[in-house]
């Protein structure tokens, strides 16, 4: 059985694609690079209730 990520409708992004996706999102929402966002998030400097912050934070595994 092929993995489900090989089926239409599901696409597992490469690390580079994932990094680019989160970079775009972090820049668009907060004007931060993904590295800047990750540092601020992990330091507890960003409030998850601030619009857009949680949206980006939940994408961080794309930018591993």
């Amino acid at each position: 059985m092929s993995p489900i990520t090989a089926e239409p409708g599901i696409l597992e992004l490469s690390p580079a694609e994932g990094q680019a996706l989160v970079e775009r999102e972090a820049q668009a929402v907060l004007g931060l690079s993904v590295d800047e966002f990750r540092r601020a998030w992990e330091a507890g400097e960003l409030d998850p209730e601030t619009p857009g912050v949680l949206d980006v934070a939940l994408l961080l595994p794309f930018a591993r």
Partner: protein
């Protein structure tokens, strides 16, 4: 983070597929958009979102239509105890948001982000634009599935289904979530 949703499998791949296969079918009820997944990494947080983000949806109820954003973070973990299916998917956090397309106004937003010492720990709903409901209010909810959000959009917000049997598809897709979730309203499980 706390976990709340366990789908078993004999391997990380099997557990992941047990989670993703029904979800793919459910999303197919409203869109052909792909589901993007972060690179697989058993034991580490993984994320999913739609390839079209936000996803534009027409609606017979909301003039101009709706926008849907899905964020879902999960982890594939191995459970102790010599079980036949020791691997499972645990939901770590989610943010499901429905906006009007006119401007940036948020309509509904379901959140669960149990990050210690940061914000509300229980699953909740934000409602914007409703009289007497402050937009910042955290209305407590049970654990909400993506399938439940899709069902709401299809049945109450007049989003046109892509398949006529969407109700049974969503019910079947949601069944594993209901069967294997460890809690529904207030998390009472220890940190993993």
């Amino acid at each position: 983070m706390r976990s709340c949703f366990r789908l078993p499998g004999r391997s990380p791949t099997q557990a992941r597929e047990a989670f993703l296969a029904p979800l793919r079918l459910a999303l197919n009820c409203v869109t052909r958009a792909q589901m993007y997944l972060s690179p697989a990494s058993p034991g580490e947080p993984e994320s999913l979102r739609l390839s079209q983000d936000p996803l534009l949806l027409s609606s017979s109820v909301v003039e101009g239509g709706l926008r849907l954003r899905l964020r879902h973070q999960f982890r594939v973990v191995e459970e102790d105890g010599g079980r036949a299916q020791p691997w499972h998917v645990s939901t770590q956090a989610y943010a499901y948001r429905v906006d009007r397309t006119d401007g940036e106004s948020e309509l509904l937003s379901w959140h669960w982000h149990p990050i210690p010492a940061r914000g509300v720990q229980y699953p909740h709903l934000h409602v914007s634009g409703a009289p007497h409901v402050p937009g910042a209010a955290h209305l407590p909810t049970s654990r909400v599935s993506i399938e439940a959000v899709l069902r709401l959009l299809l049945t109450d917000y007049g989003v046109p289904p892509r398949r006529s049997d969407f109700a049974s598809v969503l019910d079947a897709a949601e069944r594993p979530f209901l069967q294997y979730r460890r809690w529904s309203s207030l998390p009472d499980v220890p940190w993993p």
